[in-house]
Amino acid sequence: MIHSLFLINHSGDIFLEKHWKSVISRSVCDYFFEAREKAVDPENVPPVLQTPHHYLISIYRGKLFFLSVIQTEVAPLFVIEFLHRVADTIQDYFGECSEGIIKDNIVTVYELLEEMLDNGFPLATESNVLKEMIRPPTILRSVVNTLTGSSNVGDTLPTGQLSNVPWRRAGVKYTNNEAYFDVIEEIDAILDKSGTTVFAEIQGVIEACVRLTGMPDLTLSFMNPRLLDDVSFHPCVRFKRWESERVLSFIPPDGNFTLMNYHVSSQNLVAIPVYVKQSISFFETGPCGRLDITIGPKQTMGKTVENMMVTIHMPKAVLNANLTATQGTYTYDLTTKVLVWDIGKLNPQKLPNLRGSLSTQVGVPKPEDNPSLNIDLKIQQLAISGLKVSRLDMYGEKYKPFKGVKYLTKAGKFQVKMLCTAHFSTNWRSEYI
């Protein structure tokens, strides 16, 4: 299975290595560096590489490469999923997963890796279990540690592996018992040049933060579970109950976790919260072009749209942009050719507009590629699919917990194809129909 792991930073330095079987020289990474050079963009490095004696499977997270070395046949997804789990665990422990953080906590990370795999096979990956074996650092503890000289390794032996519920540690105690659930939905959509929806769907996730004493058994039910088309669960959810009664019944892990992911059935029409009127044109004659974008609310269910942000990847030929925005600010990055327009709150009375001229390179033919426009937005207190949690019940414990549900809608991969009235008037679409 997984033989070794190398952590490589953006500039190609190996700053952590861990071997679960015999040691493999880090020269094996050279093959990876070669592929990395070739790919230009770090996202384009093939996740699976073949070298004469080994296979390299890597992921790219937080500007770091997690590169694992494999010697024999193994399901690639198994390794990829595990590497992501490692990154998740580091994030969970230290708040973020970056080179600096890992370097600062290198011993803890090394011990974590030691616990997570045994002989290349995953041993303990549940964060609840790991946290019992190796305690996450806190500011208070790091102060105490420097004074007393103890480390983050648990003094008592963990019982987690042996508790009845592998994902929950035993003996949890809180003075305030709380359970919060965040229903977060993302709209993925591709809109046509004319504003019609090419493709739209809603992805939802329920993030939970449960701090309850003892071994609570929770049941979460929905007003309209039929909306949910495709679901995936945290292992704690009892699938049979879901199949028969459409309720989520589970003994939660302690702390933060993702309870379920869902997808809202595509039969329901997806409400698109905003509309975009846009045009971009380049003149054949001079080295300039025009841009005009207006955004307005469409189906927002009476809620305000916040954190509006528009990102456009301009064609390479565009040198600079000279625009005026009626609301918010815009920036144009000259090197990456990215135009970002930060609008903020969307005011239905006064629609935000961005217009102005673009200067293009002299002597270069008119850009012919169509830029596309990515939209980012947030709507508080609304799940755009209409999903509602009806109740949360707790069994197995006597106290009354404090319960709360929050809804949030975000734009996921929300893309509008831009209308580009450049040189290319020959539109051969009609011929297909």
Partner: protein
């Protein structure tokens, strides 16, 4: 600092050393100083020392041996976690000398009572195997033993070990197959992946191809029409295929795992369905796979590769999700290209217009590699779907005026391929392309145009020589592939139109003769010999025209993912399209199914059976799935139970030895128990500990409904000092001896302490009786039991008196057979009694219920509704027992028993009478 007395200093030193290891710096010089601390009391230091040892033991073998004794001591520690970690470190030290020690430790740990230690043992197996492959045989024994383990914690790890050590020993799986299927959902995620992959291979060797009736039709549907698929369906209905229930069990139990959050598990189930499920059912995986496309880009990459392979075989499956494969401008290029591949595979007559419209927007993307791939994809769609060929061609021709050279070049190459299919119609396109030679600089495109003109020079007789003229002018500045094509063009023109081009050809050949590239010089020499007739030139020149202007078959544009499905999907080998080390071939379906009975689990020795005890947090309540004659459904009983409350399904399972008392067939027998008690420390108040022998009523194989088991008391809890014993007749065939009757005993401990060493002593039997003793029941080990307090032994005299009805086994007779047999058992052998039925028992159902409860008989079908008939044989002498209950008005009834053993007959009449009147 390591020599310091202070733990804090040691710890600081160890931390620095481990940090060095993590950064990849050499810290092996410090080995002697570190190894000294292996016995350190401080657990934090100890942990870090272990980390160090595992890393450097291989390099410093002699010194590493110093630490071994510490681990050996650790293996005997009462704390299971210390045992486990000692084994883990010991097995991670790659020093050959300690192989025997490791072997011993693994063997011991494999029978450890803690499942966590057993799991560690399973992990240690592949480690030892890689260190010394000669231990294989012994290790297989351990694996076999661990495979039989019923805890979910162990299952994943042991299958992993199985895969690494002896994947070819598929026979080891037979007995555990059903158990693995049923445990699957509760195994941790990583174990699930490994088990599912292994079971896929297993199922391929053991079951028949569910799509067998469809023949090779499935392959032909590649780019075929939908009608083919419909035909397949019909064909399937004609010859019903019966799926092995075990095959069905696997499919049913893996399906919920499609909802797992772990992409690897979902993929594993998807490949299982793809390889094993009937065609109609494979569709369920599509939705789950599409869901994975929203995951990290690396996951997308792998999933798309697999989807691409699946779409070739089963296009219909993903068609509803077409839009999910639409490309976003933010996708990395490699993902875009893969999505394009999938879209191309999905294209058919109905959706081609939408797909092409989508492609059209892609062409304007900024990502040039992607644009090139899109043009290729359009080309493939055009070759595969005849209707749109012309539109595609026109679209591509328009692309020729694109400003980007790469786009143009790619289009030219694709157009060339398309034109080859029907060149006659498209001479104007060829003309158009000929004009392009002035502008296009990309060598591959130029070469393609030249080739086209040469190949179809008859369609453009006027232009071709002109093109050659231009090319001849620029010959020296061209790239090599272009030069070669110029020579080709010249040769072809010379053959068809020698009048106009003779001089030009000579000129080109002369230029080529002095070219730097030897390929070009060779080609020129070869062609000159072939086409220019000289005295020396042989017979070949006659055939020159045939050689050059032969009709060339159109190239087939096909997916690079075709035929990749001979690799198991989801595997590394499939992804690389090359066999990776250690890849296990997915076997073909067998022609005929191997014997399915190998998976039947028999209780080899029914006196000892290993049950699963699950611990509920509601108090010390123990469920013991005791002696079972496991047959098919039996495991699903435990499966459904653990599903109902997942607190039981966790890891707290313990194996406990239980027993099944068995005894001779006649009436009485004595039995004594010896009790020892110990106290449970954790639970302060008296705990009721019940050993419930869950009798498996689901044994469908037996004829009689055995649901009506009656419990008899053997020992009351007051006389038994807290121990009460109940027994019942399980009505199961007793496998070691068919002439014996099985008695099942249930021990309930109501005392405050535990019971130990239960066994039989001084059995007094009546004549003609035999008893098979059960071995002593060992103490019931529970991890939480700490304080053992023994008391003196106690003996109890008990006796078991089986009712006569239990001494028979049901047999199946038809009505006619029954009547015939009854006719032979008249007179002395027949006993008739009149009775009045109990008020509650006047319907047929109640009568059957009561009679079968009283006696182990099976019902005989009967024409009239006034009569109920039952049949059976005595267990020892196999003499026939026939019972008839004829009902009349107002509860009056007549009972008739025919049996050649008169004693049994009379006793049975009494018993049944009692049962029916009360």
């Amino acid at each position: 600092m390591l020599d310091s007395n202070k733990d804090s200093l040691k710890l600081e030193a160890m931390k620095r050393i481990v940090a060095m290891i993590a950064r990849g710096k050499n810290a092996s010089d410090l080995f002697p100083a570190v190894v000294k601390n292996v016995a350190c009391k401080n657990i934090e230091v100890k942990k870090l020392v272990y980390v160090y040892l595992v890393r450097y033991a291989e390099e410093q073998q002699d010194l590493a041996l110093l630490s071994i004794s510490t681990f050996q001591r650790g293996l005997k520690d009462p704390n299971q976690l210390i045992r486990a970690s000692a084994l883990r470190v010991l097995s991670s030290i790659r020093v050959t000398i300690i192989v025997p020690i490791m072997m011993l430790a693994i063997k011991e740990a494999a029978s450890d009572m803690s499942p966590y230690v057993r799991k560690t043992a399973a992990h240690a197996i592949p480690k030892l195997y890689s260190l010394d492959p000669e231990q294989k045989d012994q290790l297989i024994e351990v694996i076999e033993k661990l495979l039989a383990d019923k805890t979910t914690l162990v299952a994943g790890s042991v299958v992993m070990a199985f895969e690494e050590v002896c994947p070819e020993r598929i026979d080891l799986i037979h007995k555990n197959y059903r158990k693995l299927c049923n445990l699957l959902i509760d195994v941790e995620e990583w174990g699930q992946v490994v088990i599912i992959n292994m079971l896929t291979r297993y199922a391929r060797t053991q079951f028949l191809n569910p799509n067998i009736n469809e023949g090779s039709g499935g392959d032909k549907t590649f780019y075929g029409s939908d009608e083919d698929e419909d035909e397949d369906e019909e064909e399937k209905e004609k010859n019903p295929y019966v799926m092995d229930p075990d095959h069905r069990l696997l499919l049913r139990n893996t399906k919920p795992l499609l909802q797992s959050r772990n992409a690897a598990v979902v993929m594993a189930v998807a490949q299982l369905y793809f390889h094993l499920a009937p065609k109609a059912e494979v569709g369920v995986i599509a939705k789950a796979l599409v869901r994975l496309l929203r995951s990290h880009s690396e996951v997308q990459y792998v999933v798309l590769q697999n989807v691409a392979t699946m779409t070739i075989k089963r296009r219909g499956m993903f068609e509803p999700y077409l839009k999910s494969f639409y490309i976003r401008s933010t996708d990395p290029t490699q993902i875009k290209v893969l999505k394009l591949e999938v879209l191309t595979n999905l294209a058919n007559e109905t959706n081609i217009s939408t797909i092409l419209r989508e492609f059209q927007t892609y062409i304007k993307s900024m990502d040039k590699d992607f644009v090139a791939a899109t043009i290729q994809a359009i080309g493939r769609c055009a070759t595969n779907i005849g209707e749109v060929r012309d539109t595609c061609l026109n679209g591509l021709v328009q692309l020729l005026s694109n400003r980007d050279e790469l786009v143009v070049a790619e289009s030219v190459v694709v157009i060339k391929k398309l034109l080859q299919m029907q060149p006659e119609k498209h001479s104007d396109i060829i003309k158009h392309m000929a004009k392009l030679t002035d502008n296009i600089q990309v060598p591959m495109a130029r070469a393609s145009i030249l080739w086209l003109i040469g190949e179809y020079c008859e369609h453009v007789p006027k232009i071709a020589p002109d093109v050659l003229r231009k090319m001849a002018k620029s010959f020296t500045n061209e790239e090599d592939i272009v030069k070669l094509q110029i020579i080709n063009l010249a040769a072809k023109l010379y053959l068809t139109n020698s009048k106009q081009t003779k001089l030009l050809t000579q000129y080109v050949l002369n230029l080529a003769k002095y070219d730097q590239n030897y390929d070009i010089r060779d080609r020129a020499r070869f062609i000159r010999q072939l086409i220019v007739p000289t005295e020396k030139s042989g017979a070949l020149s006659k055939y020159a025209k045939k050689l050059f202007l032969a009709l060339k078959p159109a190239p087939v544009l096909e997916s690079p993912f075709k035929d990749r499905d001979h690799f198991q999907l989801g595997s590394l080998s499939h992804l690389l399209n090359a066999k990776a080390g250690g890849y296990q071939e997915l076997p073909d379906w067998p022609e005929a199914a191997p014997d399915p009975s190998v998976r039947n689990v028999e209780v080899k020795d029914s006196v000892r059976a290993v049950g699963t005890v699950t611990f509920r947090d509601t108090g010390g309540l123990w469920d013991l799935q005791g002696p079972q004659k496991v047959e098919g459904k039996s495991d699903s009983a435990s499966g459904s139970e653990s599903g109902s409350g997942s607190e039981e399904s966790g890891s707290g399972s313990e194996s406990v030895e239980s027993e099944e008392g068995s005894e001779s067939e006649e009436e009485e027998e004595d039995e004594e128990e010896k009790n020892k008690k110990k106290k449970k420390k954790e639970l302060k108040k008296p705990v009721q500990e019940t050993l419930t022998i869950l009798h498996l009523v689901l044994c469908l194989q037996t004829i009689a409904p055995s649901s009506a088991l009656k419990n008899y008391e053997l020992l009351h809890r007051i006389t038994g000092e807290g121990l009460s014993v109940e027994y019942c007749f399980s009505r199961q065939p007793f496998s070691p001896d068919a002439n014996m009757v099985a008695v099942q005993m249930q021990f309930t401990n109501n005392a405050t302490s535990d019971t130990k060493n239960l066994h039989m002593e001084d059995v007094k039997l009546q004549s003609g009786m035999r008893v098979k003793e059960f071995p002593e029941i060992g103490d019931i080990n529970v991890a939480v039991i700490k304080n053992k307090r023994s008391r003196s032994c106690s003996k109890f005299f008990v006796s078991i008196q089986p009712p006569v009805g239990e001494l028979m086994r049901p047999i199946f007779l038809t009505e006619n057979e029954f009547k015939k047999e009854q006719g032979q058992l008249m007179g002395m052998n027949e006993i008739t009694e009149k009775l009045t039925l109990d008020a509650k028992c006047r319907n047929e159902h109640a009568i059957v219920q009561r009679v079968t409860t009283a006696a182990n008989l099976s019902r005989v079908p009967c024409g009239s509704d006034k009569e109920c008939r039952f049949a059976g044989r005595t267990v020892t002498s196999s003499s026939l027992v026939l019972v008839t209950v004829a009902t009349k008005e107002e509860g009056a009834a007549q009972l008739t028993v025919n049996c050649e053993k008169m004693l049994i007959g009379t006793m049975l009449v009494k018993d049944i009478l009692l049962a029916l009147t009360q």
